[in-house]
Amino acid sequence: MDVSVTERKDWMGLMARAVEGRVAALLSKAGLAVERRFLRAPEIGSVMVRGRAGGTGAAFNLGEMTVTRCTIKLDCGTVGHGHVQGRRKPDAEAAALVDALMQTDRAEAVSAAVLEPLRSEEAARRAARASKSAATKVDFFTMVRGED
């Protein structure tokens, strides 16, 4: 099955950003049992996050973040990679499995069971923060100047 890089980046990012436990819980609820083996068992490590001086200039090392990664292979030979923020092995394994399944003919079912709920949860989370933030936006009014 042909999968575009853009699509794959989209679902991998969605799972990486998800709240702890959600990827694994949604996948297990979907009951999509598949035979697979680990090419790389879930592994916790760090990534050095970089920034840029002045926001746009020279790259510098800001500090590390924890990341869990996992790689699995389905019986059909499809390989899936999972990278999630934090220390959460079940989510990394689930993310790898979803990544693999999304490249097979079960993509639609997986997307409906796992990715769409994650997408709407994230949208709701962001909208809630954005609307609270918007309520703290300052409305200036100019005082009438004496000389006018």
Binding site: G55, A58, A59, F60, G63, M65, T66, S133, V138
Partner: protein, 362 residues
């Protein structure tokens, strides 16, 4: 005389057992969970992540619990844990222009596109103790308003258009990493920024304040301060493209500094930069002021001998784990060293003809 000493194991074990009991405190009071610390002491958690140099709120909360709220001890725990992790690689530099801002203010431009957004701030509170918090924890829902879809561009971009401010051109040179190579001088700006972002908040604040009081004064205005979430992307070799591996909250401060020009640079505004993990605005503003002071050489300014201009002084004393490690080690047993000091002083006194108190008494 040298005497080998060994022992204290039982005393140490008992001390640690008592420490655990004291950490727990009165068992009639409910125990704090790591989740409670993460959610309700989030600014302490942010400080531990920033200075521990590891973004993981749960670990930082655990460290705060374990350290009984001693944040430097918590930072120590995080730094130690960090060294046990395999490093998967480095991210693409985060794009702070693309931040989902909780807060975004400018002290220099009232009408910035995107607006002045206060966010969850202590500013404009009256700093009066709120005894309601001691009674019950009930809080109402914060008011909401439909968010504007307008972009929130960096403030310095406007001044850039007029050529009134120095530019920060993109540079993808792999930056030095002080967690891999010892920090050596001269330190370029990338290395200084790494050291500053993890340096002690109190030290950085003191250094920044010294520039405001006149030690290498550089007339800083907060051009922009923003706090919010940014995506972290990393190139995955197995995939051959970059994916998002998470989202972190950071605080970014850009100062706009008055500058009359120098032998090498025209009159224009110059910039200081602060970028710190979490909601940590005091630290980010401090970092920007100190960054600007340390840039005197590349901007062709005079070294006026101010502490904040001295890269060696600032960078070698800002790390609270290095500092506390060296400082606190002097309380550990130094019996042997001190024994030799004692012998020396006795010898010098004999040579100087001072009678020992013991001898005089005889």
């Amino acid at each position: 005389m040298y005497v080998a000493v060994k022992g204290g194991e039982r005393a140490i074990a008992n001390a640690h057992a008592w420490l655990a009991e004291e950490r727990r405190g009165d068992t009639d009071i409910a125990e704090l969970s790591v989740g409670q610390i993460r959610e309700q002491l989030s600014l302490a958690v942010n400080r531990v992540m920033a200075e521990g140099s590891l973004y993981d709120p749960d670990l930082a909360a655990l460290a705060i619990k374990q350290s009984r709220g001693d944040l430097i001890e918590a930072i120590f725990l995080i730094r130690a844990y960090r060294t046990t992790l395999p490093r998967f690689g480095a991210s693409e530099p985060i794009d702070t222009a693309d931040m989902t801002c909780d807060r975004r203010i400018s002290a220099t431009f009232k009408d910035v596109p995107g607006g002045q957004v206060l966010g969850p701030t202590f500013d404009y509170t009256h700093r009066l103790l709120d005894f309601k918090l001691a009674a019950d924890g009930e809080v109402g829902e914060a008011p909401t308003r439909a968010p504007s879809p307008d972009p929130v561009p960096h403030v310095t971009g406007f001044l850039n258009r007029e050529g009134l401010i120095e530019e920060a051109p993109r540079d993808d040179t792999p930056p030095p990493d002080l967690t891999r190579e010892p920090l050596e001088l001269p330190a370029d700006r990338a290395l200084r920024l790494q050291a500053l972002t993890r340096s002690d908040e109190g030290f950085t604040l003191g250094m920044a304040y010294s520039t405001q009081r006149g030690y290498a004064r550089n007339h800083a205005f907060v051009g922009e301060l923003r706090i919010g979430a940014v995506a972290v992307e990393m190139e995955i070799p197995e995939l051959g493209f970059a994916i998002e591996i998470g989202e972190i909250t950071v605080t970014e401060c850009e100062t706009v500094n008055q500058f009359k020009g120098s032998k090498t640079e025209p009159p224009q505004f110059t910039r200081g930069y602060g970028l710190v993990f979490g909601q940590t605005e005091r630290k980010a503003i401090s970092m920007a002021l100190v960054d600007r002071a340390l840039r005197w050489e590349e901007l062709g300014e005079d070294d006026v001998g101010a502490p904040a201009q001295d890269a060696e002084f600032v960078l070698y004393h800002g790390d609270n784990i290095q500092a506390t490690g060296f400082l606190e080690h002097i309380k550990l047993p130094h019996y042997v060293d001190f024994q030799s000091e004692l012998e020396l002083v006795r010898k010098l006194r004999r040579e100087a003809g001072v009678a020992d108190v013991a001898e005089a008494a005889e």
